[in-house]
């Protein structure tokens, strides 16, 4: 451990201690009448959640550690993800722009976080060629994040000079004003590839339909089930649910991120196993196993 790490540990502990002292102070202040003041530090009813999370966390971290050591990990081809690269490739051939729509939710949706990670990777690919990457955004807070992600992508490709701040555009916080403006971009600037990845709502149909009519290659992805049918119908490839989250790891091809994919696969296998065992037990009338999954 070097000095730097030690000082970091001290800093973290200091912040935690401050927070804890705050809580203890609150404890000493007389609780308002009529309120139950709970003094427990762990909710034992939630032990099962804790253990489940611990298992999933360790599965993911263990595989990441393995990947870091250089163990090769197999991940199957994911058609939709290859399609992203293909779409970017075609845009470069045609010398046209790529439109990246990161969904309409704010950073407090984890899909937007995943989308920003993918955006970084897409930017890295695009930076090598001189085509614009247009990112229209609905939530103001996403703008700086997207700027950082794209800037970083261009930087790692060695082309910080090609980064155009004006292509990361805040449009409007209003859902349909946003949709109307993005439709305008599709019709007027005619991007060759539209990537719609993130958290989408009612505007998905408008965007996907307009995009399809301009003839651009469209790759879409979201975990919002109610919008997936429109993407399935109107786009060339669709990333369904988990595939969107997988994309961030898959595209970067970084072993440690692929490790996390493996980890969640292991967790999935455990879930499938739990369902099989549980179903058998339930069928023969044994109930305790099912109760392990009751969340309070």
């Amino acid at each position: 451990m070097n000095n730097r790490k030690i000082s970091l540990v001290i800093l973290i502990s200091a912040i935690w201690l401050t927070l804890c002292s705050q809580i203890l102070l609150a404890q000493e202040a007389a609780p308002p009448t009529g309120t139950k003041f709970d003094y427990h530090w762990f909710d034992t009813n939630r032990l099962n959640v804790f253990i489940t999370l611990a298992i999933v966390f360790s599965a993911i971290l263990w595989f990441i550690a393995r990947a870091k050591k250089g163990k090769s990990l197999f991940i199957r081809r994911i058609a939709g993800l290859d399609a992203i690269e293909e779409a970017v490739g075609r845009a470069t051939e045609m010398g046209k722009s790529v439109l990246y729509i990161p969904g309409i939710h704010d950073m407090n949706d984890i899909q937007t976080v995943a989308s920003m990670i993918i955006l970084g990777n897409v930017a890295k690919t695009i930076a090598r060629y001189d085509i614009p990457l247009i990112v229209p955004i609905r939530q103001p807070f996403v703008v700086p994040v997207a700027e950082e992600a794209v800037r970083q992508g261009y930087l790692s490709a060695g082309r910080p000079d090609a980064f155009m701040k004006d292509n990361i555009r805040f449009i409007s916080d209003e859902q349909f004003a946003y949709a109307a403006a993005v439709n305008g971009i599709m019709l007027r600037e005619r991007p060759a590839a539209n990537l719609l990845l993130g958290s989408f709502y009612a505007e998905s149909l408008l965007l996907a339909e307009t995009g399809a009519s301009t003839g651009a290659i469209q790759v879409a992805g979201t975990a919002n089930i109610h919008q997936l049918p429109f993407f399935v119908v109107a786009c060339d490839y669709t990333l369904i649910g988990e595939e969107l989250f997988a994309a961030s790891a898959y595209l970067s091809r970084e072993p440690k991120l692929l490790g996390s994919l493996k980890g969640s696969d292991l967790a999935k296998a455990l879930i499938v196993l739990a369902i099989i065992i549980g179903t058998i037990l339930e069928t023969i009338g044994v109930k305790w196993f099912t109760k392990l999954f009751v969340v309070q």
């Binding site: 009529g34 309120t35 939710h105 009612a202 919002n224 089930i225 109610h226 969340v295 309070q296």
Partner: protein
């Protein structure tokens, strides 16, 4: 063959005209009684009705108005028929919203539909005693979490600026423990999903929902798992509740347009495919 090919390349404005007619014409037609009889009352609608029906008078119901004007055609009827049902059963209603425009819709529902209704006028409802509108608070699911410990802390003043603690109805309402049901009418985020996981699952209060048809399939699994007492989905759900509670309103009126427009979309799907396969067959 010419015909089918032309059909495939049809200007979409012609389709738009069909849509407009399918919607507008039935609005002018009064639906025959036989048609209304066929309106379906689905299980989640029935169970919400039954739950409210069996509450003792004076029970406190919370209604979260989590939507704004664009989705009112679907959601406002759900609010109106539910409110009418609550007031006829002498339940106390606490209204609020996690969407900025939600409490305004609550106010509209009360002023335009509830307080002018003859039957309800007889009840002589008093603001602050029989019902209250706590207004809007920002913070989405975190507001719900705050309410779990202290509702007055999450909503310090009501819609009109009165301190919540001074409102008679709120005197003995501390948190979700004092609420028999949270009925959430939602058009998206935050909405039923957030109420289920943050209020229902964490604090054990009963949750029911009224959703747009888009949201409905998303939240219907929670009915099966018992996390929702009941759920209304779209215009059909709203009309179902109107039917079962006997307060026929807008949803019932709109049902005919709804039926015709569905039939038309199905017709388009079939026609589109027919044209596609016939022209493709010829080319090969």
């Amino acid at each position: 063959m010419e015909f089918w090919q032309k059909l495939l390349a049809i200007d979409r404005r012609i389709i738009f005209i069909f849509v407009a007619f399918a919607i507008i014409v039935p609005l002018f037609i009064i639906a025959p009684p036989g048609f209304l009889k066929k309106i379906d009352v689905s299980l989640p609608v029935q169970s919400l009705y039954d739950y409210v029906e069996n509450l003792p008078p004076g029970s406190k119901i919370m209604i979260a108005f989590d939507y704004d004007p664009p989705t009112t055609p679907e959601l406002q009827p759900m609010a109106v028929s539910f409110l009418k049902h609550c007031f006829t059963k002498d339940l106390k209603v606490i209204m609020l919203g996690l969407w900025p425009q939600g409490p305004v819709q609550a106010q509209f529902a009360m002023e335009r539909e509830i307080l002018v209704d003859e039957k309800i006028k007889a009840k002589n409802l008093q603001y602050g005693i029989d019902y209250v509108n706590l207004g809007f608070q920002a913070g989405n699911e975190f507001v719900i979490l705050r309410m779990g410990t202290d509702i007055a802390a999450a909503f310090p003043v009501d819609y009109f600026g009165t301190r919540t603690k001074e409102i008679p109805l709120m005197k003995d309402v501390k948190n979700f423990d004092n609420i028999r049901l949270v009925y959430n009418i939602s058009a998206g985020y935050p909405g039923t999903y957030e109420w289920v996981i943050f209020a229902g699952d964490r604090f054990g209060v009963k949750i029911a929902g009224g959703n747009t048809a888009v949201q409905y399939p998303h939240n219907s699994p929670y009915v099966q798992t018992g996390q929702l007492v009941g759920l209304l989905g779209g215009m059909a759900g709203a009309a179902g509740y109107e039917k079962v509670s006997g307060y026929l309103g807008k949803a019932t009126k709109y049902m005919l347009s709804q039926a015709v427009s569905h039939a038309m979309v199905i017709f388009f799907i079939i026609l589109g495919n027919l044209a596609y396969f016939i022209t493709r067959g010829r080319k090969v």
